[in-house]
């Protein structure tokens, strides 16, 4: 059973066109939800950790929010350099260190 589901699978935006990516999770007793960015041919790069519903974190044009069932990654006025795959992950109930990743959302921002 998938613990993390991300949508959409792919998203194409015009530069400056704001949007949101979704990460739904089913694990109980959430011990953190993590967002990573992955560029082609590279390893994932850590963006944010969220621990409790209502929490928000921001970094440049990105803002991550968390509810009891899902997280959103809001991208405001994106630029072409924001193009990447965005991954969401949660620890499984049995472990505090291993991460279960979603399949990711592939974002393309065109000029």
């Amino acid at each position: 059973e998938d613990q993390v589901t991300q949508s959409p699978e792919a998203l194409r935006l015009q530069e400056g066109e704001s949007s949101s990516l979704n990460c739904s999770y089913t694990v109980s007793g959430l011990r953190g939800l993590f967002w990573y960015r992955q560029d082609p041919g590279k390893g994932p790069e850590f963006l944010f950790t969220l621990y409790s519903a209502g929490e928000e974190k921001e970094k440049e044009r990105l803002k991550a929010t968390l509810t009891k069932k899902e997280s959103f990654l809001h991208i405001t006025a994106p630029k072409p350099e924001d193009s990447a795959t965005y991954l969401c992950a949660v620890p499984p109930p049995s472990s505090g260190y291993a991460l279960n990743f979603g399949k990711g959302t592939s974002l393309l921002v065109t000029p």
Binding site: R31, T49, A98
Partner: protein, 115 residues
Amino acid sequence: GAGVSQSPRYKVAKRGQDVALRCDPISGHVSLFWYQQALGQGPEFLTYFQNEAQLDKSGLPSDRFFAERPEGSVSTLKIQRTQQEDSAVYLCASSSGTGETGELFFGEGSRLTVL
């Protein structure tokens, strides 16, 4: 170097060959993780080391997979008798703590292709 270093970056193996993938974590990082990433998928956990101790190997797909970190720094992931389904990118990550913050530093990965 400042980041996690993995080698080789690319490896092509014939089915049945053994391969060894190396990970050099960030200096001083206690925790080291191996993940497997198939094309179009998110990374999947393989194994976890805290210093030289392998605390979790529950994600290793079969007994053909073996990982070690004998001195608590460099780690090697070995795959014996490779199969086509082993083709994937193998990512190594390290963390200064136990990794519970989720802030892992990943290498660029080793892409394995089994023919």
